[in-house]
Symmetry: C2
Subunit: 745 residues, 2 copies
């Protein structure tokens, strides 16, 4: 176990040895040796080379008989590496199914035999009490994904508790094909058909196909194989959204430093650091030693780990690794390096600590207007170190501006005061500005009100006038309010009905100098891939709720997600939906016909999507201008947008994002577009959202009038001089509506 | 009403007048006049020009105020054309919502006003008791389909009974844009953005988007507008799959013959004939007369309808219509022509008559092995005029072959004899071949057995030996069977377990000369668009069954479907899944391990899809060789494949197709591919199918190693000399399994 940074809870991690002794029986000796080497666990093949030979002989016999079918009998004692004993029950063993099988073979004998071998091994592993298995990915370049998926899905059904993790490379398809061959189709490897696309996302395509065919079951995960070549950042971000249960780091991913010890390149270190947030298990495979190449290792006590002195350029380009003449690496040194890297990880950002356990956990949005919140809920809000600082700054600026305008007897009111933290900050801002204020606190929740009384008595010295009422019914005594302060925002800005509340109280604001804090707020959205959340919803969908659970905007700490619409710098394209400003001009409220229609909104935006993927739903954020000083010199803002939060309200934790699900994931190709529409509806009694996604791709058509031939045919005939890019519809979602779960006014 | 062909039930049709007097109030006068003109019904606008002027004034006022919102008040008596009275309650009035509104306008004032007008009109129409409405399609070239769909979906929710039909053109988008402009983007109509694709399927794209956003509700239908230009056959076939409730035929679709009377071109006649199978209502709109252009019509009594003398080439190419100098058309003459065309339609094929009412009706497959069928079920089978003829021919050929081989004391057995029709045919074949046979009939259904006894007594003269047993348990007396006849086939060949049954009885066959009729059968499949069926399943999906109803292969008379994979001649690409031959070689049965594994099958096939669409499921068919004579001169077959049924067993009605649903429709672009996989699984106790679809598109990549840029970007930079076409995955379905509904052995 790792020691943590002082003051920080240690992040636990486990490092295992991957296939330490291929082909030989699993025994306590092997496990003990691994434990001595400080490995927490090992992976081991379930069956052995004896079994492989036996099965291959059966296949050959069937083939020579001209048979199209083959029957593989069950496992016998000499076929297996493990037994149901304390060793396996220790929980330190991960089963690995045979890697010589080809579940997706186009040869029906091999495919059938492979499937039977797999199912025997899964059955036996479950019988032995293993909890988790690693299974190789497909081998025939996606020629028979259906056969592969069928085998996996059937395998999942054999035992209700085993989890299966597919071993796939982070970069490139795992076909035993050399990197050079992938980009050089003239080299007929014999295994990659020239008509199948291979790029950085191919390995992810394979995973996406498998998990989709298995309906996103949580019993299926990934064991991502890390080698020397890494894909680019956007591909790593794509992997980050997936359920990576294991990181299998091969020794070939390491360089040797000047002293001959293994170290990870900086990009590899960044990858491990980033993926550590997913709490995977780490498995080290030492292919450098599988052929017995290593010389006697130097005394491990001499090992030091100086910073990497680059001997070669790293980072994406394929380079030859120059190995220092003296090798001092041994399997143990790789593990030690990884251990020290993990133990020295920088502390996670505050949001991660605060949100520990909340990642991708779906919460129904609060209805603070309809419901009375509990004290613990308020307490959670109050932990945010940033938000109240911002409010205090805003009130401070506002007070200064009012003084400059010559306003006297300034009256400040906090509506929806909760347990009073905003009141405290208003008083503090007034003190710092050396201005006396008349302080009001309005709160409808009778329980919180009691707590406000306590605060007034014990902390505020009775300086605050408390009123227990719904703010829309408040009648202030003979005075206007000069600064009306509220914190009614939800993760999508207006989704907790801040506009409706403030509409009802803005009449207390001074008609010319009255200030609303916040002055305005905006909702923002972008389409995302969120496989963990979607899988969660799929598994939650039961008989009675299968429609409704998708038609709820959830508050959620989005973690295992990928932004599908990105600019060339990898930043997400996020679109502003709409804005609310306060106070609302009087004539707008006058034209109100009782249906709250001035608070209706709609928005539509097109999001370019550079790389293919799957849209599971829409992520929502908000921004807010608490106050902008009259001369424009100061502005105090809040933001949950991932691209502006650091600039506007760094480390703010009070709001997670919001997530609008799509019942049916929408696949999008490279260079496509998602058009997302949102509506904020209200009928005067409640408020809800509708949302919808349309997807488009693009084709190139010759500029002159077409004959109606397929665009691809035309392109094969003509040169490219004169073409236009046309948008073609792919698919459209339902119109999703949260009306059944709308917020009551 | 139409008189029918003698002996044929008349096909009822209704012809209505479309918008006879735009802008004026609906009155009994108008309806009476229409009835006098022999129209069965009329369509009429719900509101009038008064209302249009009123609303437009409100919009302009809001605009000049700089307001972003507009409120349209409800309807007043001077705004409407109709009232809840006997006229409307007569059922002869179809409401038409205002056509000057633009639900999809990008101007928020116009869009908001349009939506409110629409909803007022829908509410009022429902109040008046109208049953059905026509609503214009979108107007802004798909710039705001989301806004349009939102308005329609909300409109559907206003009244639970009204059906809404979207008016869309069969050919080209209805934007008031001239045909020439669509194919000539240099003419900036101002309404078609140059970056949006327009082709023959664009109108269908629009419908597909609308109905998908509305979740395939059956309360939404199509009113297809037919004009002079027609799309090509494949587009008409695509429309045929959709819920066309109305055909709106404009006078511009007609030519004038040499006598000056209106007639339809041959392609138009074919369209009407073909679409008549969908039993639409017909609406005639007479735009030629809307400006008061017509001269006094000649006496209708003089009207004749000679065959069309083509003055211009028709059929797809846009041509100028030369109008004869003398016009003798009037609105009445158009209606008369259509009436006479409909009344003289050729009789439908036997399958249509037999299947009347069964089109696209989902039936769970029979389980004749597990269940006992009712007499009526057998009776339905026996109505097939073709099947038994084929069996008789096959038995005849087989008897002749046996005689030629010198076999004597020929023994013929029908296993699964039902009510005996095959027995009758075997006896008849023997009589025709002048061969005496020993006739056995085996049947497990005790009720059918009783009926066999009656037949034997009253029809067969006691010539048949009856045995009441499951055929797999039958022990014939001291003889082998020379011809084993069975009719155990289901719509997917083997899905009623014919292989399992025949495996169990083949031991009674003579080891060298024994003949099984059928000798072999094959299953076939192809991906299809089937919106009606999918909508049916969506509406059936309730809490308790939402998983299962999609995992059942249904027997269904596929009618409103489109074959997505077609060759250049428009014929569907149908792939053979697998074959069963009888008898099975002995060693195959010997290697049987009790799991029936020799009857497992799998199949995978790639289907090229030329034009974009939606895959709702897989259609399945079968073929069967009843008998092929030993010298190969005669072969007797059955087929339900739409492309071979006429050649092999024309007019056979016994089997509908089979349909394997997908829970989630899969959208495919132009020039794509669907890879469909099927598995026939068995565990020795039951038999079931698994199926799965993967979709792919194609990109062009330069032949040399790529830099990883987006393929589209690359193409914009290079000329086309050297490229390869690469396949890219789009999406994959779940692995669907009918295991829960498997057939018990």
């Amino acid at each position: 176990m790792a020691d943590g940074i002082e003051g920080q809870a240690p992040m636990a991690f486990f490092i295992g040895e991957h296939l330490p002794a291929p082909g030989s029986a699993l025994s306590f000796n092997i496990l003990d040796r691994a434990a001595q080497d400080s490995y927490n666990m090992i992976s081991a093949h379930i069956t052995n080379i004896n079994y492989q030979a036996k099965v291959q002989a059966i296949i050959e016999e069937a083939r020579s008989n001209g048979s199209t079918r083959v029957y593989i009998p069950g496992l016998e004692v000499e076929d297996v590496n493990m037994h149901p004993d304390d060793l396996v029950a220790s929980g330190k063993v991960i089963g690995v199914t045979s890697q010589w099988i080809e579940l997706d073979s186009l040869d029906p004998l091999i495919a059938s035999a492979s499937r039977q071998v797999l199912h025997h091994e899964i059955g036996y592993a479950g019988f032995c009490g293993l909890a988790t298995l690693l299974i190789d990915g497909p081998k025939t370049a996606q020629q028979n994904m259906a056969g592969y998926c069928q085998s996996i899905v059937q395998g999942l059904a054999i035992n209700a508790y085993l989890t299966i993790n597919i071993m796939l490379p982070a970069f490139g398809p795992s076909l035993g094909v050399k990197q050079e061959e992938i980009n050089d189709p003239s080299q007929d490897s014999g295994r990659i058909p020239p008509d199948v696309l291979y790029d950085e996302l191919t390995s992810w395509d394979i995973w996406n196909t498998i998990r989709t065919s298995a309906r996103y079951t949580s019993r299926l995960g990934l064991a991502l194989q890390i080698e020397y070549s890494l894909p680019r950042t956007h591909t790593l971000k794509r992997w980050f959204a997936e359920p990576i249960r294991y990181l299998i780091i091969d020794s070939s991913a390491f360089l040797l430093n000047t002293k001959g010890y293994p170290v990870l390149t900086k990009p590899h270190q960044r990858l491990v650091t980033q993926f550590a947030r997913k709490n995977p298990f780490y498995l080290l495979s030492n292919t450098r030693f599988s052929e017995g190449e290593s010389e006697d290792p130097a005394d491990p006590a001499d090992a030091e780990f100086p910073p990497l002195v680059p001997k070669v350029r790293t980072g994406g380009a394929r380079q030859t690794v120059s190995v220092t003449p003296v090798r001092r690496d041994d399997p143990e040194s790789y593990r030690k390096y990884l251990y020290y890297h993990l133990i020295n990880l920088p502390p996670p950002p505050p949001l991660d600590s605060f949100g520990a356990g909340y990642q991708d956990y779906l919460q129904s949005p609060l209805q603070p207007l309809a419901d009375n919140l509990e004290s613990m809920t308020y307490e959670v809000f109050e932990k945010d170190p940033v938000k109240y600082d911002q409010y205090e700054k805003a009130v401070f600026l506002a007070l200064q501006d009012l003084r400059q305008q010559g306003v006297e007897d300034i009256c400040v009111a906090v509506v929806g005061a909760g347990r009073g933290p905003l009141v405290t900050r208003c008083l503090r801002a007034a003190t710092n500005a050396s201005i006396d204020i008349n302080m009001f606190a309005i709160e409808k929740n009778p329980n919180a009100y009691t707590h406000l009384m306590k605060k007034n008595r014990d902390v505020w010295g009775g300086a605050v006038t408390l009123i227990k009422t719904d703010m829309r019914k408040w009648e202030p005594p003979n005075t206007y309010v000069h600064i009306l302060v509220s914190e009614l925002l939800g993760s999508f800005a207006d989704n907790e009905l801040s506009p409706e509340c403030l509409d009802g109280v803005q009449r207390v604001l001074h008609p010319t100098v009255g200030i609303n804090i916040p002055q305005s707020y905006t909702a923002h959205y972008t389409p995302i891939m969120a496989p963990k959340i979607h899988g969660d919803l799929v598994s939650r969908a039961t008989s009675s709720n299968s429609v409704d659970i998708y038609e709820v905007p959830y508050v959620v700490m989005l973690t295992a997600i990928d932004f599908l619409s990105q600019n060339v710098n990898g930043e997400p394209n996020i679109h502003q939906a709409w804005e609310f400003k306060h106070p609302v001009p009087e004539d707008e409220l006058e034209h109100e016909c009782g249906f709250n229609d001035h608070n209706q909104r709609e928005s539509i935006a097109a999001f370019p999507i550079p790389r293919r993927g799957v849209i599971h739903g829409i992520a929502g954020y908000f921004e807010c201008v608490l106050y902008e000083s009259a001369d424009g010199t100061g502005i105090v803002e809040l933001s949950t947008r991932p691209d502006t939060i650091d600039a506007k309200s760094k480390d703010m934790i009070s709001w997670f994002a919001i997530y609008f699900p799509l019942r049916t994931p929408m696949s999008v190709p490279d260079d496509s577009e998602a058009q997302v529409s949102f509506w904020r509806h209200t009928d005067g009694r409640k408020v809800w959202y509708d949302w919808m996604v349309e997807t488009f791709s693009f084709v190139l058509l010759p500029a002159e009038g077409g004959t109606g031939s397929s665009p691809m045919t035309i392109m094969s005939q003509k040169s490219f001089g004169d073409y236009t890019r046309k948008r073609v519809p792919i698919a459209v979602s339902e119109i999703c509506s949260s009306k059944k779960n709308g917020c009551l006014m």
